[in-house]
Assembly symmetry: C2
Homo-oligomer: 297 residues x 2
């Protein structure tokens, strides 16, 4: 813990599940004297104030960040840079700006030119979330025993990085620093690719439905678990495709090569090689559960 980790004024731009939960952490841990919420939807901002997540709110970004020591940008990845551009004229010298976007390299690239001199950007990504969104879903325990990845660059201010690291540690997360491109490659593999596959699978079955055969009516629990992530926000995921395009294309290609070779084994009826493939996957999957007994199998 950092002795002096305290902010007089914090501005949270985007008071949803992540922004709201982080505000609750700052409050509970006494890390902020005042928290202002900034957003577009009045009902959500009013709910945030009523729930005690924020002290005040505004829909004007530049107005809201005035005098803030810490600005948390918790908006969709495609909007992060433009949000900071709007905030820029009023960011005070020494102000720390951090984001929670699930793509990092392209965010860093877009944010670079719009950050005013004297303010410090620390790119971050807490690996946390639930099925629900909006401030009503927020709770301060969201980040406990989760990982938070920070992707500083050579230009990142060391004191600002230390402060943001301290915040996420106070939230209960394990903070890991890595290069933005490594982050984007890892997230493409364990999150972005599975979403692309789930959407594609559901639409493949949808084609069969369209041909007049009720296939979905015969799906069991496995299919429902498997396709749960296909219920994720289409807008958020088309944005992520744009922002992490190169890494997503790479993982799709790696997946296609593997599927192609599996297809060949099925075609050849090479049961022994198929079993070896399935065994490898089962062992990996089982080890993942053993490493995280907290998670459900």
């Amino acid at each position: 813990m950092i002795e002096s980790l305290h902010f007089k004024k914090v501005a949270i731009i985007g008071v949803g599940l992540i922004g709201g939960s982080l505000a609750l952490v700052l409050r509970r841990k006494g890390l902020a004297s005042e928290i202002t919420g900034i957003g577009r939807g009045l009902p959500n901002l009013e709910a945030a104030k009523r729930l005690g997540v924020i002290d005040s709110f505004t829909r004007d970004i530049a107005d809201g960040v005035k005098d803030a020591d810490l600005v948390v940008v918790a908006v969709p990845v495609l909007k992060i840079a433009d949000t900071i551009r709007q905030a820029a004229p009023n960011l005070k010298p020494g102000c720390i700006v951090t984001d929670v976007g699930s793509v990092k390299a392209s965010v860093i690239e877009a944010v670079g030119p719009v950050m005013p001199a004297g303010a410090h950007f620390v790119p971050g990504h807490p690996i946390a979330g639930t099925e629900n969104s909006g401030v009503e879903a927020s709770f301060p325990e969201l980040f406990i025993e989760r990982k938070c990845i920070l992707t500083p660059t050579a230009k990142t201010d060391p004191a600002a990085l230390k402060a943001v690291k301290g915040i996420w540690e106070e939230a209960g997360s394990t903070v890991v620093e890595m290069d933005a491109s490594v982050h984007d490659m890892i997230l493409a593999a364990v999150s972005h690719l599975p979403h692309m596959i789930a959407y594609t699978l559901v639409n493949t079955v949808g084609d069969i439905e369209d041909s007049g055969v009720d296939a979905l009516g015969y799906s069991a629990g496995g299919f429902k678990d498997f396709t749960r992530i296909a219920s994720s926000s289409p807008e958020m995921w088309s944005d992520i495709c744009a922002m992490n395009k190169e890494q997503i294309l790479k993982t799709i290609d790696a997946f296609r090569r593997r599927l192609e070779s599996l297809r060949e084994l099925i075609e050849k009826e090479d049961l022994s090689a198929l079993k070896t493939e399935f065994d490898r996957a089962k062992n990996l999957r089982d080890s993942l559960i053993k490493a995280n007994p907290k998670e459900t199998a």
Copy 2:
């Protein structure tokens, strides 16, 4: 319900989750006077008797089916025909033989030549299961509010079909009759393809792990849900690949074409078309949950 749905002697070959649970249904509903379990592993058979699932057991298939009015073949799909071949010499005239295999056309084809004249084969597939296997996992409610698919052919004895339908209705299932090839196409889409994809995805991430990057350490709940089915039995799934090869290859190809076109949209950064694709999948997935509120989302 059929007035006269009662069997003097039932033989269950393979007293695992499905076979054991069906035995418990027959017992609870008073449909059988005597139930014999047939299997290869003594400890499982002993447990089945101790738990009251069966009255007696033997490891000799031909011996166990002697005098049986109903034989339930609940062994892995690849072994169904050979199991019936071993039972054949002792199947009494009028005996009903039914299976619970998750592939139907190739099972019907393989069973045809080994069924003795006078005994009646009714191909079936209860769409039910849990994470657990073995007789200890069996319970009579397993089939309640599930679908059971029967795939009779032109040769199937109508009275035998009616009896097997009655058993599954007594178990609490909705019985649907369809052509074996339609069954195999539907199951390839909603079960076999998802398993192939889950195994392939986990192995794709495994390749990244092998390259020295800890990707799995950053996976969240979505990845774990998505890949749960990759923990399924490698042996069972390589067998299913062999038995439903043509339909699985077809659905893999349909999936590959869809993934290819999604890849193109990402490459072109056509966010509007991507959103349309994701919307379609989300609507289909959400409708599936609405249609089955009993299931978790």
